[in-house]
C-alpha cells in the first residue's frame, strides 16, 4: 500500500475508534498531616482520611497518600506536578485562603493563593475550616473542576468520632464511587442530618456541631463534575 494511503487509513475515524478508547483516569492525592499534640489532626482528620484512603483503594483508584511530615509545601507541590492527580483530597486545618500541610511536626501552608494554580483542571475536596470562603473561589477561577469545603470553622466532638467521620467522609466516599459533586454534596448533607438526629436527644451540644458542619459545607464550581478524569488509551 502506498505510504499516503496507509497513513490515510490509519487516521480514518473507524480505525481511530477501533484503536483508541476514552477511559476513566482515577488518580487521587490525599494530603493528611498528623501533628503531634494537635487533637484535630491526630484524633479526627488523620484517621478519617485513612477510611477515605481505604475506600479509594476499594474503588480502584491509584492513591498517592501524603502523611504527616510528607505534607510539606514542597512535597505537595512536587507530587501534584509529577502524579498529576485527577482528584485532590485534603484533611487538616484550613483558613480562608490556605490549606495546611506539615513540616517538621508543625502545621505549615501547603496550598494557598500563591500556588492555587496547582489545582487547575482537578477535582478538589477538603475537610477543614473556612477555605471555601477564599481559596475555593480562587481554585475555581484557576479552572478547578469543582471544590468542596467548608466556609466556616469545622467542629468535631471526640466522644462521637464515628458519627463525625461518617458525616465528614460521606461526600468523599460518594465522589470516589463516581457520583457528581452535587450528588456527593446532597449525600453528605443528608448524612450530617441523619447523625444530628441520632445525637440531638442524648447530647444536643454534640448534635449542634453536626448541624453547623452540615450548614457550612460548600460546593463551588461545576456541580455536574466528577472526581475522576478521562484519558485516551491505545487498545493493544
Amino acid at each position: 500500500m502506498p505510504e499516503f494511503a496507509r497513513i490515510k487509513e490509519m487516521l480514518s475515524i473507524p480505525v481511530l475508534i477501533k484503536r483508541w478508547r476514552i477511559v476513566k483516569s482515577k488518580k487521587v492525592l490525599i494530603i493528611r498531616p498528623n501533628c503531634p499534640g494537635d487533637n484535630y489532626t491526630t484524633l479526627f482528620s488523620f484517621p478519617a482520611a485513612t477510611l477515605v484512603k481505604n475506600k479509594a483503594v476499594a474503588e480502584g483508584w491509584t492513591v498517592t497518600d501524603l502523611q504527616g511530615n510528607n505534607c510539606s509545601r514542597a512535597n505537595v507541590e512536587s507530587n501534584i506536578n509529577t502524579v498529576k492527580p485527577d482528584y485532590v483530597v485534603h484533611y487538616d486545618h484550613g483558613s480562608d485562603f490556605t490549606l495546611y500541610g506539615q513540616n517538621a511536626n508543625v502545621i505549615t501552608p501547603a496550598i494557598d493563593d500563591a500556588n492555587v494554580n496547582l489545582l487547575a483542571k482537578r477535582a478538589v475536596s477538603t475537610v477543614s475550616c473556612e477555605s471555601a470562603n477564599g481559596l475555593g473561589p480562587l481554585a475555581i477561577a484557576a479552572t478547578s473542576k469543582a471544590y468542596l469545603g467548608y466556609d466556616d470553622l469545622h467542629w468535631v466532638h471526640l466522644w462521637y468520632l464515628d458519627k463525625f467521620n461518617e458525616a465528614s467522609n460521606a461526600a468523599n466516599n460518594a465522589l470516589l464511587e463516581g457520583k457528581t459533586f452535587q450528588e456527593a454534596y446532597d449525600i453528605a448533607y443528608a448524612k450530617y442530618t441523619e447523625k444530628w438526629a441520632e445525637l440531638v436527644g442524648p447530647d444536643p451540644g454534640a448534635a449542634g456541631l453536626l448541624l453547623h458542619d452540615r450548614d457550612h459545607l460548600t460546593l463551588l464550581g461545576n456541580p455536574s463534575a466528577r472526581a475522576h478524569g478521562l484519558k485516551i488509551v491505545r487498545v493493544p
Binding site: H157, W196, V200, P204, G205, G208
Partner: protein, 84 residues
C-alpha cells in the same frame, strides 16, 4: 417604629437570645454525667474544650461561645421544623 426603637428592640431580643443560649447550655450540661463535664470533647481548629469550658465560653460571650450558642439555637429550629 422609629430607627431608635427598632435598634432597642433588636438589643432586647439579643439579650433574650443570650439568656436562651445560657439556658440551653445549662440544660445540656445537666444531661451529662458529672465525670464527663471535665473531659475533652469539642475540637475546633487547634482548640479543645470540655463541656464545662465551652459553657464558660458561652457565658463570657467569646467568639467560640457565640458560635456554640448559635449551634444550639439552630438545633432548636431544626427540631421545630420536624415537629411541624
Amino acid at each position: 417604629m422609629s430607627g431608635k426603637e427598632y435598634e432597642a428592640q433588636r438589643k432586647k431580643e439579643a439579650d433574650i437570645s443570650k439568656q436562651l443560649a445560657l439556658s440551653d447550655v445549662k440544660d445540656w450540661l445537666k444531661k451529662l454525667p458529672a465525670e464527663k463535664k471535665e473531659k475533652p470533647a469539642i475540637v475546633v481548629g487547634s482548640k479543645t474544650f470540655t463541656p464545662a469550658e465551652i459553657a464558660k465560653e458561652v457565658e463570657n460571650d467569646t467568639e467560640y461561645g457565640k458560635q456554640f450558642a448559635k449551634m444550639l439555637q439552630r438545633s432548636r429550629v431544626e427540631l421545630s421544623k420536624r415537629r411541624e
